[in-house]
């Protein structure tokens, strides 16, 4: 950013000659990007409140926002508020979780869907519904988190077997294998259970429709801890990106860094999956798009991925409401539509493992 260096007039006369500064050098560009994303986020949230199966006017929106629900239109808008909030939180969580996972596996294709995390969460929730009559939000969250952590640990242990430890490639392979196994198990549990298959199938598609504040409140603490842990790991991810040996040579405990960032990612996607069902591609696509904007520094990349993920999921949800009017398409289906071509683009563009 040449344009950002201060003009000669603004610089004090006794200043040292301009030296490269990592912090100031990219700041202007990053702040511009952040302003852009925040604007987009506000726009997407506004669309999510204003648009839907039922057309509403300013009066209804105003009524719903001020809590004076009197007409059907007011109620329609009021029901979009928690849904908007959930799309925002879930999108942000998935965006950050995807960025963290790409960092800790050094795999550009990593995503909460890979590494078995979503599949583990889904299986645990399905088991809960099928065998333990699981109904409360907290029950969903706890079983999703348990499933997500167990499968993350299983993937890590399998990838660590043999010489050389859990390399990015082995993690990805073990994740794909575990995902396949857990997904078949989930299907096997649902198939004979006509009584629950409707409920489970709609949950398994992944979406934010029908969200209520009562569903959202219990996940907020888990998401909060997940965000804090993940962002605290940003510097560790910066070092892991240089390779395990270099990271260790710079004084980082590589195993601890991996474990801690995995914990952050598992909290974020486990909690999100519990409320929304498994939503794919947000975690994959968003960090890549944000890299184009802010570069490779995870201290910037993760907050940007949060904003980007929120925007993407909000827009996907709005698009789903409009595309199948007067019915609705789940956000999980829309993100898959957007995500698949981007996925192909990433594979074609990048040398795999070049993170």
């Amino acid at each position: 950013m040449q344009g950002f260096s201060p003009t000669p007039r603004a610089r004090p006369s006794n200043a040292a000659p301009a030296r490269p500064s990592v912090h100031r050098r990219y700041l202007a560009r990053r702040l511009t990007g952040a302003a852009l994303l925040i604007t987009l986020l506000l726009g997407a949230a506004a669309l999510s409140v204003a648009l839907g199966a039922r057309s509403v006017g300013w009066a209804e929106i105003h009524a719903a926002l001020t809590g004076q629900v009197q007409s059907v239109g007011d109620a329609a808008v009021a029901s979009r508020l928690p849904r908007t909030l959930l799309a925002l939180l879930a999108g942000a969580a998935l965006g950050v979780a995807g960025g963290v996972m790409q960092g800790l596996t050094r795999n550009p294709l990593a995503d909460p869907g890979l590494l078995g995390v979503n599949a583990g969460a889904a299986l645990a929730v399905v088991i809960g519904i099928a065998w333990f009559n699981l109904q409360t939000s907290l029950g969903f969250i706890m079983s999703a988190l348990t499933g997500a952590s167990l499968s993350a640990v299983a993937v890590y242990v399998i990838a660590s077997l043999g010489r050389g430890g859990a390399t990015p490639l082995r993690l990805a392979l073990a994740g794909a294998a575990i995902t396949a196994a857990l997904t078949s198990l989930t299907t096997a549990i649902i198939l004979p259970r006509g009584d629950i298959s409707g409920l489970v199938q709609s949950w398994l598609v992944g979406g934010v429709g029908g969200a209520t504040y009562d569903q959202i409140t219990p996940v907020v603490p888990f998401l909060a801890v997940g965000f804090i842990v993940s962002v605290a790991c940003a510097r560790k991810l910066n070092l892991l990106a240089l390779g395990d040996d270099t990271a260790a040579g710079l004084g980082e405990n590589v195993a601890l860094a991996r474990g801690m960032s995995a914990l952050g990612a598992v909290l974020l996607c486990g909690a999100t999956t519990a409320v929304c069902g498994p939503i794919g591609f947000v975690g994959l696509v968003v960090p890549h798009a944000c890299r184009l904007l802010v570069g490779t520094d995870y201290r910037w990349l993760l907050p940007f991925s949060a904003l980007g993920g929120a925007i993407l999921l909000l827009l996907a949800d709005v698009a789903g409401r409009l595309a199948a009017h007067p019915a609705e398409l789940d956000a999980g289906i829309v993100t898959a539509f957007i995500g698949a071509p981007v996925f192909i683009w990433i594979v074609r563009r990048r040398k795999v493992g070049a993170l």
């Binding site: 030296r19 490269p20 500064s21 990592v22 912090h23 050098r25 050094r106 010489r163 510097r235 910066n238 070092l239 990106a241 240089l242 390779g243 040996d245 270099t246 260790a248 040579g249 710079l250 004084g251 980082e252 405990n253 890299r291 570069g295 490779t296 520094d297 990048r350 040398k351 070049a354 993170l355």
Partner: protein
């Protein structure tokens, strides 16, 4: 900056069942430029990794300025010993400046932000490696030799008294190999940094190093000045190769000429 000494006492190490280092001891004096040479799988890289504490020895210990490194906090150790692996990875699109700045990691605490000292160390490292003009460029756009200079700059920004490098010249053209070794020699001379590197190329090792360590079968076969270590007998024992060792006409250091099975008279005479 003060120079540091590094000693390894009776190191034994390996991966799983396979023992790679077998009772290896080395004594690296402060401010020396040391090259470790030996055939493939002789344990030279493993020795370097144990010296940098990347792997823990099964027995024996490593002393930095006389005190054992195994109990030292990771960041504290990383402020004193820098390690550059054979093939470090640069994230796609990262700039030279950003990569070199990451070398400051061990100097930053959880709440200690980027400081003037960090700024100065990075600028100094870029200047010493001749990279100031390339600071904004993406690392993956650079040539192999420039990229290796970037990694050395990162290690310099770390400001350690000891710098360990695993084959810093592999995959480089000969002109870039010389460029990297010249750079390391300058750092060694001007800053007194103790440099220990694994090198493949025997003649370059003999030309640049103050001390040669020749390893074979996980043990130190010989250690000392290039003149005492690089002999026809050492080459025979360590590499299983017949050779002639003559005086390098430029530097006066020993220079090894391999004989091979055909006594060095091969295709050149036959094809003419």
């Amino acid at each position: 900056m003060n120079a540091s000494s590094l000693q390894a006492e009776a190191l034994t190490a390996g991966y799983g069942e396979r023992r790679v280092l077998d009772n290896a001891s080395v004594d690296i004096a402060p401010g020396q430029l040391t090259a470790i040479v030996g055939a493939n799988a002789c344990g030279k890289s493993t020795l370097l990794r144990v010296l940098s504490r990347l792997i823990a020895p099964a027995s024996g210990r490593v002393l930095l300025d006389g005190s054992a490194i195994d109990g030292m906090a990771a960041r504290k150790l990383a402020r004193r010993i820098g390690f550059l692996p054979q093939s470090p990875m640069a994230p796609e699109g990262i700039s030279v400046l950003e990569l070199v700045s990451r070398g400051r990691h061990p100097h930053q605490g959880l709440f200690r932000r980027w400081s003037a000292a960090d700024e100065a160390a990075v600028a100094d490292a870029l200047a010493a490696t001749g990279l100031l003009a390339l600071a904004e460029r993406a690392v993956d756009e650079l040539s192999g030799g420039q990229r290796q200079r970037v990694w050395i700059a990162m290690a310099l920004a770390q400001q350690t008294n000891v710098l360990l490098l695993d084959e810093p010249t592999t995959f480089l053209d000969i002109n870039h190999q010389i460029e990297v070794l010249d750079l390391l020699t300058e750092l060694n001379h001007t800053r007194g940094t103790t440099v220990v590197m694994v090198l493949h190329e025997l003649n370059l090792a003999a030309r640049y190093a103050d001390t040669l360590i020749a390893m074979a079968g996980g043990r130190v076969y010989a250690a000392g000045t290039p003149e005492t270590v690089l002999t026809e007998a050492t080459v025979r024992e360590v590499f299983g190769l017949e050779s002639r060792v003559i005086e390098d006409p430029v530097t006066g250091k020993p220079m090894m000429i391999p004989l091979g099975r055909h006594g060095g008279v091969g295709s050149a005479t036959r094809s003419s």
